[in-house]
Amino acid sequence: MIEVAQLRKSFGELTAVDGVSFTAGRGEIFGLLGPNGAGKTTIISCISGLVTPSSGHVRVDGHDAVRDGPAARRVLGVVPQEISLYEDLSAVENLAYWGGAQGMRQPALGERMRTVLELTGLEDRTREPVKRFSGGMKRRLNFACGIIHEPKVLLLDEPTVGVDPQSRVRLLELVRAQARDGACVLYTTHYMEEAASLCDRLAIVDHGRIIAAGTLAELRAMLAERDLLRLSGSFQAEAAKAALAHIDGIEVLQADAELLILALPEASRRLPAIFAALAAAGSEVRGTTLTQPSLESLFIKLTGKELRE
């Protein structure tokens, strides 16, 4: 239902999206995982027709997003990153407006409004101005406005940013429900755990490129079941690298004067050997963090930096 082929978007000198390709099908939740500024929102903007791609193709339910924009937009539901609501209007007034913008009419609109208000748990606050809502309630209404017309394709751009844990759980369950009902969901986030728990397939995005893609299991396999070991302290980077090179199976992902990040199997069993090698190389270890294989460790392995940087 979503086909993105060699998508590229530049803003002057800056290339925000650089040759991105992926597909997502009906009933699937496809995640775009990456740090802020990686290009996720630009990809969503190109798919929704808000931004015209510099090159490449985007098709939504078979409609070209540029040449057949209105038809593509009719099957699209978008939940933007920002809370895009009229805060002086009530929940019902917002839903009526956005439903109207999608071409819905009464009585179907009224029926659907009742359904989404119930789904999002806002049925008791329907007439109140949105500005009196909590952040989580606004997020839920933001979501409700995106699904008011039962879209075939749903684009969610970091919909849980700044949301309390309770609302987050509720929102994620709503997203799963949309996929269960047959919608194709494209979900962007920079929260690893969210992506891991929600998405059927994932693409890791950095600097406008997809650096890895697949199911969660496929991505984890890329780490070869290795642990991630972070050592903080005082290091002579080159000497430390040379000392660690003698230990089997160690890969140095990052080495600088204060931090070493290593990928290796069975790290806990091999800690004494690592400490001894580093001490011999004139390094001083003050802190140690051991992480089991995860999306985060994969991201660090692929980019050499943490996701939240």
């Binding site: 027709g49 808000l50 699209l76 933007p80 895009s84 609501l85 002086d88 209007l89 007034e93 913008a101």
Partner: protein, 405 residues
């Protein structure tokens, strides 16, 4: 088309929920209108000055002369205050007073004996109109006194005894003057010649305060509201609602047209209420209420589009605000919204009448006074509509070409 009305309903709902933000735009014109009406009152503006009089004769003739200044219409314009000569000179030198009149001792005797006398008048150079009125009036009175002395000099000289005249003298002089008047009646009544007068009214000078000032205030309100509503497009952009709309199938043209209908309906309502209030409370003459309301609606909507195009051209909300104010305030100043054209130097008024709001005010004043016919009004409305269509298309193009990104 359906979305157009959904947009209008949404905009009205927003105003209903937060009417203060729109009403606050009217604060400045309302405060100015109230202040000006307190200063000038409801009726025609009448200047008031102070005539200082040093009456060193203090005679019947000098009192008759001063009495003439106390009678209408001079009495409405001048307050006569008797002063000593030295004190009067000091005050007029300080600019305290419109003029100082010195009536010398011996004035009555000289007048009755038909001997030369000299009245001294010192005028305040800081004032232009009132000192001239005093000077002209005094000149007429002196001429009148000359003729009175020639016609009834003998009778009046009977009073020149140096004492208060007895009742029988007053009665006999009165009878004598009555006989004199009767003998002159055939020359005086009916007048020897017919004088036909035609008053050609100068609209700039004969208009009431309401007719002069309120149209300016009304247009100031229109400009400020237009600016406030145009800047709302930036609020929508910052709220993200414009972006959300752009990824829906709803046409942006319907959204903009809906906004325009909303704006026009706000102006129509404001015009109706404002004009009714101005007519009822301040006595604003309104020759045709429907035409006046229609004109304000069209003019306000066109001004809105003008400021909207500027707001859409700005790179940030702050820049839009600054640019809007940079356009609205000078336009209001020079275009007759802060001060009526009648109060401006003629060169400034000439420029001001060429501004969009200045031109619209002139048409509006003509509608209020009933000096514009239906054909001229239709031409003016057609012109406004044409300009509005062009600005609508410019605004739509800007909305479609990346304003939301």
């Amino acid at each position: 088309m359906r979305f157009l009305w959904i947009s209008v309903r949404k905009d009205w709902s927003r105003v209903r929920r937060d009417p203060f933000s729109l009403a606050s735009s009217l604060a400045i014109p309302l405060i100015l209108a109230v202040m000006m009406s307190l200063v000038f009152g409801r009726g025609q503006a009448v200047p008031q000055g102070r005539l200082l009089v040093a009456d060193e004769d203090d005679s019947l003739a000098s009192n008759l002369l001063l009495g003439a200044f106390n009678r209408d219409p001079l009495g409405k314009m001048l307050v006569v205050e008797k002063v000593a000569q030295a004190g009067g000179r000091a005050r007029i030198n300080r600019g305290d007073g419109s003029a100082l009149l010195i009536i010398p001792a011996g004035f009555q005797e000289a007048f009755l004996r038909n001997r030369p006398f000299q009245l001294q008048l010192f005028t305040n150079p800081a004032q232009r109109i009132l000192p001239q009125i005093v000077q002209q009036s005094l000149s007429i009175m002196v001429d009148g006194a000359f003729y009175v002395e020639h016609v009834a000099g003998d009778q009046l000289r009977a009073f020149d005894t140096g004492h208060a005249p007895p009742d029988d003298l007053i009665a006999s002089v009165s009878v004598s003057i009555n006989h004199l008047a009767a003998s002159l009646r055939r020359y005086l009544r009916p007048p020897a010649m017919d004088l036909e007068t035609e008053v050609v009214a100068d609209p700039g000078e004969s208009k009431s305060f309401a007719a002069t000032f309120l149209p300016s205030m009304i247009f100031m309100g229109l400009l400020f509201i237009a600016n406030s509503m145009a800047l709302d497009i930036w609020k929508e952009r910052l709220m993200g609602t414009l972006r959300r709309l752009a990824v829906s199938p709803a046409p942006l043209g319907a959204f903009l047209a809906g906004r325009l209908i909303f704006v026009a309906s706000v102006f129509a309502l404001m015009a109706l209420v404002g004009l009714a209030a101005a007519r009822g409370l301040a006595g604003l003459p309104v020759a045709s209420m429907p035409a006046a309301v229609m004109w304000l609606t069209f003019a306000g909507t066109a001004l809105f589009l003008m400021v909207l195009v500027v707001a859409l051209a700005a790179a940030t909300a702050r820049a839009a605000n600054v640019m809007g104010n940079l356009i609205v305030f000078p336009l209001a100043m020079i275009g007759g919204c802060f001060f009526p054209f009648e109060w401006m130097p003629s060169w400034m008024a000439r420029i001001g009448r060429l501004t969009p709001n200045g031109w619209a005010i002139i048409q509006f004043q003509a509608i209020l006074s009933g000096e514009i016919d239906a054909r001229k009004l239709a031409v003016a409305v057609a012109g406004l509509t044409a300009v509005s269509v062009v600005m609508f298309l410019v605004a739509l193009r800007r909305l479609r070409s990346g304003f939301m990104i």
